[in-house]
């Protein structure tokens, strides 16, 4: 169980000149001891790079990695005592389940009796006690991933468990079982868990804190709520949520807010200039014509999804989506609907960063 502190950057080349030369732009981050974190982002955003730097499989080009204040930047994964679970199950084919789980302990020359006890405990936790003597190679993918996980947990002093998209090869109906198991293990063992994924549902359900990354940058760190309510970057607004946040061009000048050629009241202090107004479809409401903060939009699509209705409309060429209740008074396609976009959940962005 360790607190991990990162203060580093990782570049592809020795003399990075511009942002694209970096795999990871300079960042400072701290992962608390016993916390469950997710690194979330699209392919190529640098999340696996960060994971490998934390595990010791990669040395950052500049900066340090600290475990409980100890500099481990150049230490091997073994020395850091971490465990890593990969995208596909990595097991020793020639061994049984029990032998697989015992392997890390045997390499440390732990006495056999202790090994047996520990293997038994971990197998119990993973609900694999009945399969201990089976050959690992013959099991299904999810069982094999559990073994991979087990090999990491079997060391009592493991500092952190790192996951690199571990559910990729698991059947969808088994994924939630494994996720539940992971949360259970987190509660029981209070380990520092760091989980890399591109699936926001996985990240948001698993982690206490999510690090949203794009193109080598950690854009926001926060709980699921924080990411949803106040995304600090338009990327986060877009990436989180299904569908993502609506963005409208806005301009502030002479104390007035102009959105789609309509003057709207300035409810809070905003900097002058070009801005983006961000509001999630969940918070867009149907309003009466000429209501303050409402925009006239041309309805182009109505989709009844069962639990809600997804309304798509355009206002001066910009799209707006709204998630409405099924029993609301719905306009028809081609109508002009007035949609309320200003509210407590609305965020404003300047140069992609949140300002209000």
């Amino acid at each position: 169980m360790a607190r991990i502190t990162l203060d580093l950057a990782h570049a592809y080349r020795p003399n990075p000149q511009q942002d694209s030369d970096y795999a990871l732009l300079p960042l400072k981050m701290e992962f608390a001891d016993g916390g469950a974190y997710a690194l979330l982002g699209p392919s190529g955003c640098g999340k696996t790079t960060m994971l490998n730097i934390m595990s010791g499989l990669l040395v950052p080009s500049t900066g340090t990695v600290l475990f409980d204040g100890r500099d481990v930047t150049r230490a091997t994964p073994q020395e850091r005592n971490i465990a890593q679970v990969f995208q596909f199950p990595v097991i020793y084919d020639t061994m049984t389940v029990a032998e697989n789980l015992a392997f890390p302990l045997r390499n440390r020359k732990v006495p056999q009796a202790q090994i047996d006890k520990r293997v038994g405990e971990i197998a119990e936790m993973l609900e694999m006690s009945g399969q201990l003597n089976q050959r690992a190679a013959n099991l299904a993918a999810d069982a094999k991933q559990k073994i991979s996980l087990g090999r990491g947990l079997v060391r009592p002093d493991v500092s952190a468990v790192l996951f690199d998209e571990p559910l990729t090869v698991i059947d969808p109906h088994l994924k939630w079982q494994l996720r539940r198991k992971l949360k259970q293990i987190h509660r029981e063992l209070k380990l520092t868990l760091i989980y890399v994924t591109h699936d926001q549902v996985e990240a948001l359900t698993f982690a206490e804190q999510v690090v949203v990354m794009t193109r080598g940058r950690a854009v926001q760190v926060g709980s699921a709520d924080a990411l949803f309510e106040r995304p600090s970057h338009t990327f986060v607004g877009n990436f989180i949520g299904s569908p993502g946040m609506n963005f409208l061009q806005a301009k502030v000048s002479d104390g007035a807010l102009l959105v789609a050629d309509l003057r709207l009241p300035l409810l809070r202090a905003l900097p002058d200039g070009e801005l983006k107004l961000g509001v999630r479809p969940e918070y867009v409401r149907l309003a009466q014509p000429q209501d303050t903060g409402a925009l006239p939009c041309l309805v182009t699509k109505l989709q009844d999804v069962g639990t809600h209705v997804m309304l798509t409309a355009t206002v001066l060429g910009q799209a707006v989506k709204a998630k409405l209740a099924t029993d609301a008074a719905l306009p028809a396609i081609g109508d002009i609907a007035w949609l309320q976009v200003l509210g407590t959940h609305t965020c404003f962005y300047k140069n992609e960063e949140i300002v209000a």
């Binding site: 465990a83 020639t94 890390p104 090999r151």
Partner: protein, 296 residues
């Protein structure tokens, strides 16, 4: 062959027909000839007497044949004993990727593409004490080396020549097996604290095992049939010290025109190889299914 269910279609025989014709021409017809000869005593082209299994019995009792068989077995087993570990070691040492991998691959594979008589010639030259580097060096070191005069030297030279010639086959097979191991396995092993030997034993060797077994069987069979290289190098000598089975057979058939016994022996020879081939085929099927099921 694929183990998944395939649609039954007897018309597929038409697609196979050209192959069957070719191979029948190249194989069945000559084979029938051999079988024909093996049961006859051909005193002259016009006078042939059917003698049944007489030749087979005679061949089985032939002392010279026993000697040749023993020599052959010793040779094949020695060859395997050296080429297998050496090939594995070579496979482990070859770079995995980059331009170095290509260069090493070409250099290592070179010996496999040299006409077999040229292989014999290369070593014939190389081993002579007057014009060959090896021979001259050994001479200079004070060793009275002669692959033409000394039976043990001849054996060793033929052995080294075969190792030089065919180890790359084992190495390439092992190399291919190694390349199929994803990086994550090595990473996991590092994290688990495994020693280099443990990595070899639990990760590399199991993944190579399938292809290596094929290599073992192929090498055994091919060395069992070897003819050209030792023939060019030592001519089978000194005496018959390096006369292995194929040469023995050729001598009997072509040299002495003892067609009957030669044919009988050919069949026995063929049957031995057939047996080994059967084992190889079954093993390959097993490896094939394993790769499709277990695997990554």
């Amino acid at each position: 062959m694929s183990m998944t269910t395939k649609p039954v279609n007897q018309k597929a025989w038409f697609l196979i027909l050209p192959v069957l014709i070719c191979v029948a021409f190249s194989a069945i017809v000559p084979l029938m000839t051999v079988v024909n000869y093996s049961v006859q005593d051909i005193i002259s082209p016009e006078r042939r007497v059917f003698v049944g299994t007489e030749w087979f019995v005679a061949v089985m009792r032939d002392e010279e044949l026993h000697a040749a068989l023993l020599r052959q077995l010793t040779f094949s087993l020695s060859v395997l004993a050296v080429e297998l570990p050496l090939g594995i070691l070579l496979a482990l040492s070859m770079p995995a990727d980059g331009w170095k991998a290509s260069v090493v691959l070409v250099i290592v594979s070179l010996s496999l593409l040299i006409p077999w008589n040229v292989v014999g010639t290369i070593w014939q030259i190389f081993g002579r004490s007057d014009i060959g580097l090896l021979g001259a060096t050994l001479q200079w070191l004070g060793i009275d080396y002669s692959y033409t005069g000394n039976a043990a030297h001849a054996w060793l030279t033929v052995l080294v020549m075969d190792v030089w010639h065919w180890t790359p086959l084992v190495a390439l097979l092992g190399y291919a097996g190694l390349r199929s191991i994803p990086d994550a396995y090595y990473q996991a092993a590092r994290i688990d604290g495994a020693s280099k030997f443990a990595v070899f034993r639990y990760i590399q060797l199991p993944k190579m095992r399938g292809v290596l077994m094929i290599g073992v069987l192929l090498r055994f069979m091919d060395s069992f049939m070897i003819y050209t290289e030792p023939f060019v190098l030592t001519g089978g000598g000194p005496g018959n010290a390096t006369t292995f089975l194929s040469q023995f057979l050729t001598q009997k058939a072509v040299g002495q025109f003892d067609l009957g016994p030669a044919a009988a022996f050919s069949l026995i020879y063929f049957l031995i190889i057939l047996l080994l081939c059967f084992i190889l085929y079954n093993w390959m099927q097993r490896v094939g299914t394993q790769e499709k099921e277990g695997g990554q």
